[in-house]
């Protein structure tokens, strides 16, 4: 439908994503993080524009960052999946090309029989894991190139590049102890070549790590390739750019065909300031603010509130660019009270002065969003709404 209706227009859309924005009261009847925050600029936009709330994947379903972003970008997150290997690779800035196969690695401990005694190698810290990753980087397998990057503690990512590689391979992690790691097994005939090459690499790695302790081996999970997502330009006729600090979000943005703009600084105001230098070359701007989610995961209600306020403070600079459509929302909720992602609906503010229809709301907060004029709807419907308000969707039918 979008491919059929999308049209060019001289308008600009900003999708300002405060990761994990949705929250919960810490005490019964109290405010959420967003409701507690002093946000005069957002409240003005809420008064002028329209509020609503989105369901990231399905009611009750708590999404990981991959599916949540895909949905917000308009892709059905149940149909389109980004494999764990690819997502982890993007998380540390490692590119996964169309013919590459990525996997997530976990260092583990094998006992004298070769059985796993600790699936996370005592959660070794970075300074012990890094030299091990460097050892793995020295291993060569003829016919392919292999990139290994440390992620955090016992986690790393490996990407294999070469001809005829297919990622349809089962995890080597048996998900239990007292058994040896599985070999990499192809799930289809085409994947046999790649599985064989990974097993060769694993065999050498086993010898290389044999004398280490506690991390004398690893398991691999989430073998995956570029999911070949439709691109923003093709689906929405948009020239899109991503302004984000964390590599993973830049990676997901690349997968849907956005350009990635690198800039100095990492604060919300630095991100918003960075918009001006790409303003003229693009018509869609994905701005990703991470620390709302991080403070939520920390259980830090006050910290999350402050991040929200810092975004509000930077908002006038964004508005001075005169976007035609500004969407302020999130990929999912991360209530400080729960210290984790959650399934709760996501607050949404749509501001498009030429066409927005005001509702009764006068503040940007969960309670107001619940009764907002846009109602409660699947996150995948957000992009068509933004395009419409930007005059970028043709009429359907006569």
């Amino acid at each position: 439908m979008m491919r059929q209706l999308a049209q060019q227009a001289d308008t600009k859309i900003v999708l300002l994503v405060l990761d994990g924005l949705g929250g919960l009261p810490m005490v019964p009847g109290g405010p959420t993080e967003l409701e507690a925050a002093h946000t005069p600029n957002l409240d003005r936009l809420a008064t002028e524009g329209t509020l609503g709330q989105t369901i990231p994947v399905l009611p009750g379903v708590t999404p990981g960052s991959g599916p949540a972003h895909l949905a917000m970008f308009g892709y059905d997150p149940v149909h389109y999946e980004i494999g764990r290997g690819v997502l982890e690779a993007y998380g540390v800035g490692v590119h996964v090309g169309e013919d590459d196969v990525a996997a997530r690695g976990n260092f583990c401990t094998l006992d004298e029989n070769g059985d796993i005694s600790d699936r996370r190698a005592s959660r070794i810290p970075n300074d012990i894991a890094l030299p091990l990753v460097e050892k793995l980087q020295t291993i060569e397998v003829p016919g392919v190139s292999i990139e290994v990057q440390h992620v955090k503690e016992y986690r790393f990512v490996v990407v294999m590049r070469g001809d005829g590689l297919v990622a349809d391979i089962t995890d080597t992690d048996p998900q239990q102890t007292s058994v040896p790691p599985h070999p990499a097994r192809p799930r289809s005939e085409e994947a046999g070549h790649a599985a064989g090459l990974f097993n060769k690499w694993i065999d050498v790695a086993r010898k290389v790590l044999a004398d280490e302790h506690p991390a004398n081996m690893f398991t691999l999970r989430g073998f995956s390739s570029d999911p070949q997502l439709p691109k923003y330009e093709d689906v929405y006729a948009l020239q899109a750019v991503c302004v984000a600090v964390y590599p993973m979000y830049k990676g997901v943005a690349k997968l849907v065909g956005m350009n990635v703009h690198n800039f100095a600084g990492d604060s919300p105001s630095a991100e918003i300031a960075a918009l001006s230098s790409v303003w003229n070359d693009h018509d869609f701007f994905f701005v990703h603010i991470k620390p709302t989610d991080s403070r939520g995961e920390d259980g830090d209600f006050e910290g999350k509130r402050q991040v929200i306020e810092s975004v509000d403070t930077a908002l006038p600079e964004l508005l001075s660019l005169r976007p035609d459509v500004l969407v302020v929302t999130s990929d999912h909720s991360t209530p400080a009270r729960m210290r984790s992602h959650s399934w709760h609906p996501v607050p949404l503010l749509l501001w498009a002065p030429a066409t927005h229809r005001p509702d009764k709301a006068s503040r940007f907060g969960e309670r107001d969003c619940a009764t907002g004029g846009l109602g409660t709807f699947p996150a995948t419907d957000l992009m068509p709404l933004a395009l419409a308000h930007a005059g970028r969707l043709r009429k359907y039918g006569a």
Copy 2:
């Protein structure tokens, strides 16, 4: 999706169903039955928790009890059907096993030519129908056993048990008068055996009833078997129990794998009191309150209001069990004003003190539910929401 994400947790969910709860004002601008009721306990839960409304099947579609309960239990009522024969059998407490075929019977009147002159046999009362059912119970067909039970007035149910029975059989009710009843016709080759046996039984029955008046024959409708619904334990990883007074609701609960708890008494307070004896052995509790629907069908606004108040009065005993998630809702609306089931959205109250997100509502009523924080959504999404609030759904994707 639920099979993939459901996980065990040490939490308990209560689904308190006031059948036909949704209502309408009797006078323009007046309160609905629920709004007119004095419900201090429900109002407190509404203030603390989150309201919303569900669509039972599709907007504008008035559901029967079967589809409405299936939807509320999380099964697409368009995909999964409980045949009328099976539903009627469960309504009078007759079990329909996996290999049985049930049909609903209507006594009718045949004229001297064998054509139907009255499709409901002058709606004969129970005391005339019962001896006829007893006559039918004496008929034997070699190779199968047959159970016949009276339902009400001119209605009865027949269940055939034996080997190789398939229910894919057309109604014998021609849905018009001045024609004879159809024979039972198989719609598929496999159903030929069962259709033949039903026709044998019908032929004997015709002779047995020949001298009766006005009910000298019957028609059969809704040949059906156990619909083989996925079970709560397999789909949701829940040990579920049903607390209900009416056989039909116990039957539907059995079809989705719930245990059925029998207890003394039939008032809402007796049902809630009965919960305590099964509390420790289960983690999902379906409590079905029938008289809200009955009073609605009677057009008895005041009576329906009083039933709602009696549930409210019994609520503290339920809360003393400390459920983690309490859902108060209905299968469909039965406005006293309409004296029938209706398509209107169904009021919903979700109370889960650890994770509910409060909205602006302070009363449990249709007007507050319409602007509640959960929005308006299909009834089939209710179970995932309840599971999420009980910590029983894993995160989706990385």
